[in-house]
Amino acid sequence: MSDSKQKIKLIDEKGLRVDGRKPDELRPISLKVGILKQADGSAYIEQGKNKIIVAVYGPRELHPRHLALPDRALLRCTYRMSSFSVPERKSPVPSRREIELSKVIREALEPSIFLEYFPRSAIDVYIQVLQADGGTRTASITAAALALADAGIPMRDLVVACAAGKVDGQLVIDLCDEEDKEGEADVPVAIMPQLKRVTLLQMDGSLTKEEFQQAFKMALSGCMKIYEMQKEALRREFITIREEVLKAAENNENKNNKEKEA
């Protein structure tokens, strides 16, 4: 990971990071819910330079049918990077990394969903990375939880993810691409924030026990900050929808009244 020969300075004299952030500062995050017309649920996240779209289809009929589970829905998750999302063109053939990430993201979302409500059916989560800037798996999970909620799928809790790591000997949260590549460690964490349960935990790099414990704590506090943004994004979307519904109901009533009068 760290290459001593051509090391870029990742923390400056003032203790600020390559993009001017403080160690415990998140990148700017914007979340939008319900951005796709055809999907049952969808969400869009921008976190730093990351741009990721998530669509949820289902619960729906499962094909091929032999995959059906008798007691619960099958959750399928596909994480893909667009060929132009990274500096060197990424071949559209699924890489080993994408296959592993699809699996861990699915396992991060799975504990939050009441899959047992929909036996023999499928819930599909499609994640498309349009632009990648480090921490795509955590951003994908944050957006996927919103897309599941947008699809109206019953959930125990939202799932929110944030990474912590170590760059230039300093523990930081929400690593950008450069920090991810040149840094000493990366610890992505996903949690169900109300239930206080860890649904994704990975690490690569080299940390002492105490450093890991501290990084884990920092990732959790990052998660709680992003969780507030998630709730806000849902509220924004559903207040608009509520207004639309109320307006439609009012129009309908007016129409009915007019018909009665006539």
Binding site: T199, M203, D204, Q213
Partner: protein, 269 residues
């Protein structure tokens, strides 16, 4: 006991749950006790390094092959080390012939992460002509019999194989033609590493789960620790969750277990 599918009868599940609660597992082990470990190195003579690992009834072979290759563009002065995993259909009724599925890919990548971030193999010493010619070292994991905890068995196998692996010496003829010689030297090693896997069953963590335990577990966590007590890799898996306390407990308990596993490895280099 063999299962045609990854489904366990309710009564079986209840038995394992009860055993975990009582502190003595169905095979008589304590919650933090490993099964018997046997490491046989040099099992495959045609490979540059190999190890056959028995972890209880789990059997895994790792073999190392060395080729002349080109470095990755972003690391022109480093050799290449690649790990793959094959789930051989002999190993389990749930394994099918075909390209590696997501489980095999995850296994290979987690073992790779532990070894790579422990910087176990001195990749700089595998460089022959910077930017052009390097040693490419392939480590392939073959799961022969699956009775649970493939992660730890595979890490042991790859690490043991690497520790006993040999590289052919080379000479450079003309300007840029590299030729391997018959004389062999040990693969340059800087560190050793082990992974410790815990399964969460009935709200308790058990180490080194066997197959019947893995079938009923909610989730698992694998922690890679090197010989300097550094944490180098972690992977949570399975469709369940871990509590914050579970993570803390697994981390706390894994250091001693990792030291014990590393002691069982051949000394390398």
């Amino acid at each position: 006991m063999s299962f045609s599918y990854n489904i366990s009868p309710t009564i079986e599940k209840a038995r394992i749950y009860q055993a975990v609660l009582s502190g003595e597992r169905t095979d008589g082990r304590k919650l933090d006790e490993y099964r018997e470990i046997k490491i046989e190195t040099g099992y495959v003579k045609k490979a540059e390094g190999s190890a056959f690992v028995h972890l209880g009834d789990t059997k895994v072979i790792a073999g190392i092959k060395v080729e002349l290759g080109t470095p990755f563009p972003d690391t022109p002065e480093k050799g290449v080390f690649l790990i793959g995993a094959e789930f051989v259909p002999t190993a389990s009724p749930t394994f099918e012939p075909g390209p590696p599925d997501e489980n095999a890919i995850e296994l290979g990548r987690v073992v790779d992460r532990a070894i790579r971030h422990a910087e176990m193999i001195d990749l700089e010493k595998l460089c022959i002509i910077p930017g052009e010619k390097v040693y490419t070292v392939f480590a392939d994991i073959y799961v022969i019999d699956h009775d649970g905890n493939l992660f730890d068995a595979s890490t042991l196998a790859v690490v043991a194989a690497a520790l006993t692996a040999k590289l052919p010496k080379y000479e450079i003829v003309d300007d840029n033609t590299v030729r391997f010689l018959d004389e062999m030297v040990p693969l340059p090693i800087k560190n050793r590493v082990a992974t410790i896997t815990w399964a969460r069953i009935n709200n308790k963590l058990v180490v080194d789960p066997n197959n019947e335990e893995e079938i009923v577990m909610d989730s698992r966590i694998t922690i890679g620790i090197d010989e300097h007590d550094k944490v180098v890799a972690i992977q949570k898996g399975g469709s369940g969750y871990m509590s914050y306390e579970d993570v803390e407990y697994a981390l706390d308990k894994s250091f001693k277990l990792a030291r014990d596993l590393i002691k069982k490895l051949p000394s390398g280099g």
